[in-house]
């Protein structure tokens, strides 16, 4: 859309919450924001209109580059110096932050609007004690010093910090991520703001901590009747937290409505596509492939006529390319910016669901154990036990999913397997029954080429000074011993199979998008023809639509290349989609291991159960069964007995859990659980009742 095109609002059917709504705590009308980049104005938000009623929770969801954070920054005029609001109106409680003077603006930021960002560590001043920082907010509000300190302590209690007096005396770096985010939320609420903006508040946190913080926000919202603008890339989190939702794409709102309705029955092709990118309802790689959204975000600031999503839309008609669609009223509460919103649910797939047919492979030597890890231990700095006696087998051709919170030892396990981290004496890793040297440098070439890895962050994994050709070609020359034409052929083959093109070969990583970078990393890992590929959170740095394409690629490559995967992820949905077997790690110990479907079906280890409960789901199929409190204990000082007993909601009263470490009990063949509670009893417990969450956290 260009600025001089026909005004798209009021459209034939006006949005349900009309901009002038006096009851709205926040209303944004036709907001345009431009960034000046290298002397050129680029439109980052175009014609964004929404409003939030008092006490309502509104979610803005979008992929990176959609402009969600820009909305938050523009509302309180925190745009960077090269950004400006180039059109439209904002009204917060009837006040217009865009036109007010400095004093009034400061007052608005101090009293009316609070923001919580992704990184709690950055929101807190590292050199001031937490208590003083929070008390400061009350001080600004006019309270006396002692009174402000008391109020701060009270506020910390409200964010469920069990020992506020102690936390008050700490410096921010002495708090864990979850605790720090609570402190930030306490600061934000100290002003009793009428609008609370949460910008990806839990993205940096672990699943169980995220669940706690989300519950806290929900509870506080009830208590303070705050209006919330919740910004996230995570659709499930938005679904859980928000009454209404707006889907943002390339700076434009495409669909709006009640969260449940939008996610259950999306009416814009983009929302439909986005939801199909996420593995849901027990979808698995053997059943079908995920759908993807073809194409890319439009180049920022490119002036285009017609619908902004048209180039990627399967329902596109000539009309979409020439006319900017207005908001259509889907029903009384919902709008969609699509001419064909009625057909949207029947959007044709961009990717066939069918699994590619393959010629039957000659099975050489049947299945069986490819990698055997025994008594794997790793102690850092003399006392931090990252791994404590892990026994694990990776079967040929399978995907072994490795699950656990950060600090559980997932990455250490992978690094030990690869020979990048030396395990403690007594640990043994064998490949095809042959013992492996603990140091990659001492491993022969055949072993090196058999074990490869796709790292989490392609920016770190790809040398930024090298071209794609050099990046993929190097291991081919080093490990596969290819040169000349043979190397060239293999290179071509690889980039085709990861769906890169020749024109990408001379480019540097910085010239590629995140998804393309990860494809380069995958091609590089598969180059030498590995038997086991470790995938360490390969999609966690990527957007949902890109993630789906990468997961499909991994599933396809597993078939064509017959690779075995060790798939590490904190996202249970992904693990379920891709894994054949699952291992749950906690503080460097295997808590549960078994075939994927058995692990999901139960009985579960209480920790696994808590992980399942913690992850917000779009399907609503998992009720909140048990909740964990607190955070993973330090591996330098693990709890006695069962290491999970400090957080376990099902802990036995007999004291057994505190004193002795339980062995792995076998449920069905191959499904083992490390718990004192008899498995039959565990199954019964998990079927029937829900355990109330333990009291305050610490």
């Amino acid at each position: 859309m260009t600025a001089d095109s026909t005004p798209s609002s009021p459209p034939p059917s006006a949005p349900p919450s009309s901009p002038a709504d006096p009851a709205a705590a926040l209303s944004v009308t036709n907001l345009d924001v431009t960034y000046k980049v290298r002397g050129q104005d680029r439109l980052a938000l175009r014609d964004v209109t929404f409003s939030i009623a008092r006490g309502e929770s509104y979610g803005l969801v979008g992929e990176s580059g959609s402009g969600k954070s820009t909305v938050a920054l523009a509302l309180v005029r925190y745009l960077p110096s090269n950004g400006r609001v180039s059109g439209g109106k904002v009204s917060i409680n009837g006040l217009d932050p865009l036109s007010m003077g400095r004093g009034a603006l400061r007052d608005l930021r101090a009293r009316t609007v609070s923001m919580v960002y992704q990184e709690p560590g950055r929101a807190l001043n590292p050199s001031i004690r937490v208590g003083k920082q929070i008390a400061e907010v009350f001080g600004i509000a006019g309270q006396h010093k002692d009174q402000a300190t008391a109020s701060a302590e009270e506020m910390l209690r409200k964010v469920q910090i069990s020992d506020p007096a102690r936390v008050m005396r700490r410096y921010p770096h002495e708090l864990s991520g979850g605790m720090a985010q609570r402190a930030v939320i306490a600061m934000a609420l100290a002003r009793s703001p009428s609008l609370l903006i949460l910008d990806e508040p839990t993205t940096a946190l672990d699943a169980t901590v995220e669940a706690e913080v989300l519950d806290l926000v929900a509870a506080l919202r009830q208590e303070f009747t705050t209006t919330v603008l919740f910004i996230s890339h995570n659709l499930a989190v938005i679904a859980k937290m928000c009454d209404r939702v707006g889907v943002l794409y390339a700076g434009q709102l495409l669909e709006q409505g009640p969260a449940r309705a939008v996610f259950e029955n999306p009416r814009h092709p983009y929302t439909v596509g986005l939801l199909r990118c996420i593995p849901r309802r027990g979808q698995r790689k053997d059943s079908d492939r995920l759908d993807t959204i073809p194409g890319f975000l439009p180049t920022p600031g490119s002036s285009m006529t017609g619908c902004i999503f048209a180039p990627r839309c399967a329902l596109v008609q000539d009309r979409c390319r020439t006319t900017d669609p207005p908001f259509f009223l889907v029903d009384a509460t919902r709008t969609s910016r699509c001419f064909f919103h009625e057909q949207a649910p029947d959007l044709p797939r961009a990717t066939p669901a069918a699994i590619p047919e393959l010629a039957e492979h000659e099975t050489d030597g049947a299945d069986g154990s490819l990698v055997v890890m025994e008594r794997l231990s790793k102690t850092f700095d003399g006392n931090v036990r990252a791994l404590a006696g892990v026994d694990l087998v990776i079967e040929r051709g399978e995907t072994l999913g490795l699950v656990g919170e950060s600090g559980s030892g997932k990455t250490t396990l992978a690094r030990v397997l690869l020979g990048l981290t030396k395990p403690d004496a007594g640990s043994a890793v064998t490949l095809h029954g042959k013992p492996l040297s603990p140091d990659a440098r001492r491993r022969p070439r055949e072993v090196l080429r058999s074990l490869q890895i796709v790292f989490q962050n392609p920016d770190s994994a790809l040398n930024r000074r090298k071209s794609v050709r050099a990046l993929i070609g190097r291991p081919l020359a080093e490990l596969a011993g290819l040169s000349g034409q043979a190397l060239q052929d293999r290179l071509e083959e690889l980039i085709t199979s990861v769906r890169l093109e020749d024109r990408h070969l001379p480019l540097r990583p910085s010239q590629l998008s995140g998804g393309l970078k990860q494809r380069v990393a995958i091609a590089r890992a598969f180059g030498p023809g590995p038997e086991v590929v470790v995938c360490d959170e390969p999609t966690s740095a990527l957007d949902v639509s890109v993630q789906a394409a990468i997961l499909n690629l991994l599933a396809d490559l597993q078939q064509t290349e017959r690779a075995t995967y060790l798939f590490i992820s904190h996202d249970l949905g992904l693990v379920r989609y891709l894994s054949d077997r699952i291992v749950v790690l906690y503080l460097g110990r295997v808590m549960e291991v078994g075939p994927a479907e058995t692990v999901f079906a139960g009985p579960h280890h209480p920790y696994t159960e808590a992980l399942f409960s913690a992850v917000p789901s779009l399907d609503g199929e998992r009720p909140d069964r048990i909740k964990l409190t607190g955070e993973i204990p330090s591996a330098a000082n693990p709890p006695s007995g069962c290491v999970f007993h400090t957080r376990c909601p099902r802990k036995l009263t007999t004291g057994e859990c505190e004193s002795t470490e339980p062995p792995l009990h076998e449920d069905e063949p191959g499904h083992q659980i490390r718990c004192h509670i008899p498995l039959a009893e565990l199954r019964e417990l998990q079927r029937s009742q829900s355990v109330p969450s333990q009291g305050g956290s610490q």
């Binding site: 992929e63 580059g65 745009l79 194409g295 590619p356 990048l420 990659a440 090196l448 000074r465 190097r474």
Partner: protein
């Protein structure tokens, strides 16, 4: 693996129709975080050099350096007098139309000596700095990459060197080895080695944490190859900045050594030596004999620092 990779079975539309090189694609929408992302994307690319060529400070610095290089090579052709010709009847003459910068105690034209006096400094300093940069880079890379005991021992030695004043160390070496152009280059180069090593080590330590270093180990690359082939290109910008900064210091160090009499032998014109030979004249009010060579040294040091500054700014922006 023998199995042939299958061609794509999925009409994957993820690839863009336009070249993937556009910045917009790597950074998404130019939101709040985009400013840094753009910088990261453009760093180390030709775009960085174009940016450098737009910087006024770079032109000023480069202009001055170029001027002195021209003087060093062709100065004897356009200097008004020979720098060696003594006019014993016209000693200590104040600046005039005949001698713009006046004459020195032996009646030599100061302007001509300033013009031709840049030659040795412009040969010795770059060579010394290059030597120091190469040695420092090797040492720093090894310290950063291997870490552990090697880093500990080498680090202490480097720190011991850093604790001593540069000129004193150089002084000792020169006294021991006897002054010559080669000695000067080697001594100043060695003195700068620990300084540069420290910077390179810090940069290498950061790079070593990156996953691409782990990846290259999994491809069976030797430590030397990882250091030179993988890490070095990424610490090159830091080395470049360090090199230009050190070049400025080297000019100063060489001039100081000449002033102390450990540099170029008389009567060859040299700024530091000329200041040394004439500063006693300051007491008699012959300021021009000292001021102009001093200004020449200052201009060269400032010019090099201006260049260093603009390079650093371009790389960091």
């Amino acid at each position: 693996m023998s199995g042939l990779l299958q061609p794509p079975t999925e009409p994957d539309g993820v690839l863009p129709a336009e070249p993937a090189g556009s910045l917009g694609m790597t950074t998404g929408y130019l939101g709040a975080t985009a400013a840094t992302a753009v910088a990261v994307a453009s760093r180390y690319t030709p775009a960085a050099w174009r940016l450098l060529l737009r910087s006024a400070t770079f032109y000023v610095g480069a202009g001055i350096v170029l001027f002195w290089i021209v003087c060093a090579i062709f100065g004897h052709l356009f200097a008004p007098y020979s720098p060696f010709t003594q006019q014993l009847l016209n000693t200590n003459a104040a600046p005039s139309s005949a001698h713009w910068f006046g004459t020195d105690g032996l009646g030599r034209d100061v302007l001509s000596r300033v013009i031709t006096g840049s030659r040795d400094i412009l040969i010795i300093t770059p060579l010394a700095t290059i030597l120091g940069t190469i040695l420092g880079t090797i040492l720093g890379l090894a310290m950063g990459y291997f870490g552990g005991v090697f880093d500990l021992i080498a680090g202490r030695i480097v720190e011991a060197f850093l604790a001593l004043p540069i000129v004193i160390i150089a002084f000792l070496f020169i006294v021991a080895l006897g002054p010559s152009t080669v000695t000067l280059i080697v001594v100043v180069g060695l003195v700068f080695t620990p300084l540069i090593a420290r910077t390179v080590r810090a940069a290498a330590l950061v790079e070593r944490q990156q996953d691409y270093v782990s990846a290259s180990r999994l491809f069976g690359e030797s430590p030397v190859r990882v250091m030179l082939g993988e890490i070095l290109p990424n610490v090159m910008p830091a080395i470049l900045v360090e090199f230009t900064v050190r070049l400025g210091y080297a000019i100063f160090a060489i001039a100081t050594l000449s002033f102390l009499g450990f540099g170029i032998a008389a009567p060859t014109p040299d700024w530091g030596a000329d200041i040394s030979a004439n500063y006693i004249g300051l007491l008699s009010g012959y300021w021009w004999q000292t001021l102009f060579p001093a200004l020449a040294i200052a201009s060269l040091v400032i010019a090099v620092i201006l260049i260093a500054d603009s390079i650093e700014r371009v790389l960091a922006s």
